[in-house]
Symmetry: C2
Subunit: 328 residues, 2 copies
């Protein structure tokens, strides 16, 4: 049993049982993989894949089992390599982020720009995902860091680091009935108008939905989208009142629209960075994290990550405070 054999095994499993495609993925030839797979099966004494004719039909139960152990071994091997790269100051590599559209579009740009400036040999891979899918992407092990928001709870599935607090704002056309208001509308006032908001607001357990129903109202969601820019477009088209994160509105770009604070009952949200457990973080990933959470000490962060401990974090700054300190 060699690491190469296990790497090939995982590649085959991840390529839909297509050995040719797997060979491509690991930069080797197809006969090489075939041979190593056969040798591994011979040594273990049972088939890892069920064959139909000559091609692989499905993974056997034993193969599934071996696969999970193999994945752990390979991820530990990656950990050693990552640690070594940090130790020798080698900052080449990839940084895979998985996050929602709003974070990707409005929060991360400055932070990522900083990383690519300080670590020019890093290629950042920004994976967009729906609200509920971010953490499952992280759990699958293909991402180094997730950024996600919650209204209260601490995200599970990794080490959660609080970044900043933010509130929702309302966005309306200047001709809209609410445009003249110089205060936050009440929930009752807002409930009379069709809303345009994030896709996740459709779910009954979303904080928007819960806030309305707790007060005895039913939100009218005229339209939902993952993408804040799409929401703005439909607000401009007069479809309804935009309900989105304060990070997503810009005084310059959205000067044609009126911005109102959301009703006070709508809870404050917290944006979190979530790091996979048992995974060594590259220095540039830590740098990104530190840009997003400058209030936290770099070495405390490193200790929390390496020691797999969950510290009691201080209350994160508001988005206004954070964006202030990032740009200056």
């Amino acid at each position: 049993m060699t690491l190469t054999q296990l790497r090939y095994l995982v590649a085959i499993a991840d390529s839909g049982l297509n050995i040719t495609a797997a060979a491509e993925r690991v930069h080797a030839t197809q006969p090489g993989l075939s041979r190593q797979l056969k040798q591994l099966e011979d040594q273990l004494g049972f088939l890892l894949f069920a064959r139909r004719g000559r091609s692989l039909e499905s993974i056997t139960a034993g193969g599934e089992r071996v696969l999970t152990h193999a994945r752990r071994m390979l991820s530990e091997a990656d950990n050693i390599r990552a640690y070594a790269a940090n130790a020798r100051g080698d900052h080449r590599g990839r940084l895979v982020l998985v996050t929602t559209h709003t974070q990707a579009r409005y929060v991360l740009p400055v932070a990522i720009t900083g990383v690519t400036r300080d670590f020019p040999e890093v290629s950042v891979d920004l994976q967009p995902a729906a609200d509920g899918e971010v953490l499952s992407h992280l759990a699958s092990g293909h991402a180094d860091l997730a950024v996600i928001s919650t209204a209260g709870e601490i995200p599970q599935g990794g080490l959660a680091v609080p970044l900043f607090r933010w509130r929702r704002v309302l966005l309306v056309r200047s001709t809209h009935a609410l445009a003249g208001l110089d205060r936050a509308p009440t929930l009752a006032e807002l409930a009379r108008h069709p809303l345009v908001s994030y896709e996740s607001s459709n779910r009954p357990e979303s904080s928007l939905h819960r806030t309305f129903t707790a007060a005895g109202f039913e939100p009218q969601l005229a339209m939902t989208a993952r993408d804040a820019d799409v929401i703005k477009t439909y607000v401009r088209a007069g479809l309804g009142v935009g309900v989105l994160a304060e990070m997503a509105v810009s005084a310059r770009e959205d000067a044609d629209l009126r911005v109102l604070p959301a009703p006070l009952q709508m809870p404050e949200c917290v944006a979190w960075a979530v790091l996979p457990r048992e995974r060594v973080l590259r220095d540039y990933a830590l740098a990104l994290l530190h840009t997003l959470a400058p209030q936290l000490d770099r070495h405390d962060l490193r200790r929390a990550i390496d020691g797999h401990i969950e510290p009691t974090w201080p209350t994160p700054p508001s988005w206004a405070e954070l964006s202030q300190s990032i740009t200056t």
Copy 2:
């Protein structure tokens, strides 16, 4: 980075930084290990060991870090091999048990005999340990299964499987003042006599100590030992009242001594098997466990171990019931 290199690295660390001894351990030559270590260090880009002259002086911080990841990788490799051996019905191997003297001497023999009968190619390695050290031996990863008793709490550090309930008994010479009693003495009566018991009774948090002090008495421990046979010897010598586990007294062997039940306030204990987490159990280890816990379904056990879930176990049988069912 190869598995061989990591195996060598661990061997060197476990041999007190003596490469020659490590080579012996892994059945290879010393220059081979030296070379692989050097190559690993070259590839990682930093020293794993600090040198003084030519010999290894200490592990570096980086070396320590790499070592922990390497150990995990190797243990996962062992898991794959163990799973494969099970799958192909290969029942050769070692079974390392760590436990206290009483279990080793009075409880495990029948169970181990059963294993060596059903699995003649297994060599059982019974590691004796003091009460408090059993679980740390297990945690170090050198044992497959620990057997230990507690008075109430569930043992930590692995998947704990309850085996049986047992009580303490008193052992006295026939000439002893308590010998004529046909009931359990009260705590007050017992407190007047010097006691001979297990070493762990010295600790103030031991259940014996706690029981006495809770009733306002102070136990007089004339002598303590890890070994039940030693305790009996000193009881025969008239040193005091033996307080030991009911499993340790035999109607035949101890016919010259009087056996009394312990005071009712002394709590019932539970013997547990503790299995290391994240470790594939060989079939013969499961067989041993099943002999010790016949009330539990074999497949439930396998599922609990493989799935790393902690089921709510049924109340275990008493030692009398268990020893009955084992021998028949």
